[in-house]
Amino acid sequence: MNMVFSEEQRLLADTARDFLDAHCPVAALRRLRDGRDALGYDPEVWRQMVDLGWTAIPFPEALGGLDFGYSGMGAVFEQMGRTLAASPLFATVVLGGSALSLGGTPEQQAAHIGPIIAGDRRFALAVDEGRRHDPAAIALAARRTEAGYTLDGEKVFVLDGHVADWLVVAARTAGRAGEQAGLSLFLVDAKTPGVERQRNRVLDSRNAARVRFNGVRVDAAALLGQADAGWALLDEILDRGRACLAAEMLGMGQWLFDTTMHYLKERIQFDVPIGSFQALQHRAAWLYAELELARSTVMAGLAAINADAGERRQLVSLAKAKMGAVLERISGEAVQMHGGIGVTDELDVGLYLKRGRVARHVFGDNDFHAQRYGEGIGLLEAGV
């Protein structure tokens, strides 16, 4: 399991860092937030990201991509985490793009992947329906009709759901909520009659929508992958998303850590830098150790995207759980060690705390992934 970036990936990361520092600093997120921006991202910056080739990173060359794989994608997401860059890259390329490249027919791929790489089409993945992430619990019904399928039900917390041109919808075509069997994925044009979207403002100032499907009719060609057997496909798409979220959280964690270490050396109280106090030094040293441990799991999780499903599941869950836990700890310590200024809106630390909370929750929080990992090693049984 290679856990060190290649020369190529390092170059990608360096370019991303320079670009984001110049064009998409944390101040950009503040502007979007304070202006209550309708999109939730800056289309001009998105256009530049497309020009840099980021939308092509994970796709195979045969589909017009760069074939840099998920370690390459992770290198970019880590840097996006550093500046809290908001963009459609996650929902469109990682989620929509994976759905198509893993499950799409040649026709579906030909119709959509070109426009995705060109930055002309945005996607969203509609999975969750309840309070916490639980893909097996999907109940949204897709009933077979003569012409195709009719979708009825509701999805919540659909990232980029309100701006997406197309939705990848995980629906139940057989079995009962709670079962892995009987799921199918559908490609749905967001303009289809019966699709009703409501943007919700959430903690991280980005986009998440509630999407209702009221008798939404799609034709048979909308099916993505095999009917009733969508679980494995969905699981693999989600793992790519989880690995990228872990990489983004790593970038956030590193920024919080660096910023806090800097503050410990600068802030004078009792006539000395507060970083000279052992009570803070030991906590800082533990944060360093935990962050390095988490970094290894994130690198391994990204490298495991193309491994066999068992290994991929273990390493991705390890990365998402470990990074989620470490980021929570670092965020909390960053606020605490900054003292009073740490709880003000003026300091950027609070923005990382908020985005961290969302990233930790999306597609399974620490407890979800500890459960999944525990099932994988045979220590926990499936179920709630």
Binding site: L264, F277, Q278, Q281, A285, Y288, A289, L293, L318, L380
Partner: protein, 394 residues
Amino acid sequence: MDDLDAFRQEVRQWLDAHCPAAMRVPGPEEVVMGGSQAVFATVEQQHWFERMRDKGWFAPGWPTQYGGGGLDAQRVRVLEDEMRRMKCRVPQVNIGIWMLGPVLLEFGTEAQKQRFLPPMTRGEQGWCQGFSEPNAGSDLASLKMAARADGDHYVVSGAKIWTSGADKADWMYALVRTDAAAPKHLGISLLLIDMKSPGITVRPIELISGASKFCQVFFDDVRVPAENLVGPVNGGWAVAKRLLQHEREAMSKMGDLNLPTQCELVPTVRRFLADGAAPGDRAIRQRAVACAMDEHAYHLTVARMGQQAKARMDVAGLMAIVKLVHTEQDKRKSAVLIDAMGNRGLGWEGEEFTEDELATVRQWLLSYTLTIAGGSSEVQLNIIAKRVLGLPGN
């Protein structure tokens, strides 16, 4: 085939012919502690010891004139690689060879080298390390054991503590204070002391785990020839720091001892929880999963450290967290294991309990030792804070 490949072939053939099969699998026997009191648990152990000794491979990289193997660094690496590949056990544990020897080669006089190195390479002399004192643990440089010059001798008085294997060792290399008036780092010297000298008393310390790996050693006006002082007088701190650099290498060799793998957390917890479900079992399973994940992250990090080193990236920061993380995780893991065992994890001795169960209890108690010995967790955190993070001193 270049010379190195030819050497590799030669090593393989020799090891294959001379390393007994029983010495290529983990075994329950105690490892051989090199020295005059070396004990062999089996004939194979003795054969393996004698053959490696006669080949000069106890210290393969030392010059042949001192009984070493005379191999260059590349060939030493080949030998170590091949021994690891064939799972050959380390033929003896000898901190004289692993830690003191390299320092003697660097700082010792010719007479000291000729006198002390050959017996080490024959496995005839066992050494112990006299560093910690009752009032100098984490703050090692505050050590007080005095060595007063008296003609061509030093007269040593004081005490050392936490000395591994002092009860079996023939010699001790000790840090002593040769100048009480100098700043604390500048009055220390490294002295080689014959453990048979009059005035030395060794008392093993029984640990909570029941083991007595450590001793306390008392010195009551012990006369040591001045020629046994290594390096400059009052320059012992630099020598000791150099010596501790070799400790890491020695520790990595300890990892190759081919001991039976310690009881694995996951299968053990599963085994103990298989007989039905008692209230609280679910929480124990979840804690075990958390430990398994932590351990997984640790192993990945050690592997990443290797990959980064190979890619010529800096690994100093990762090196600094290894001991801390490993021992702290081990303590948590042992506690979960003991909880999973319930009253089977409370046995001390006797027929009622299996060997496995008793060993796990001792392992749990030992885990408390490991976050203290070899630089406590707090010392490790200080090192990370100052050297890795660059936080200011006070």
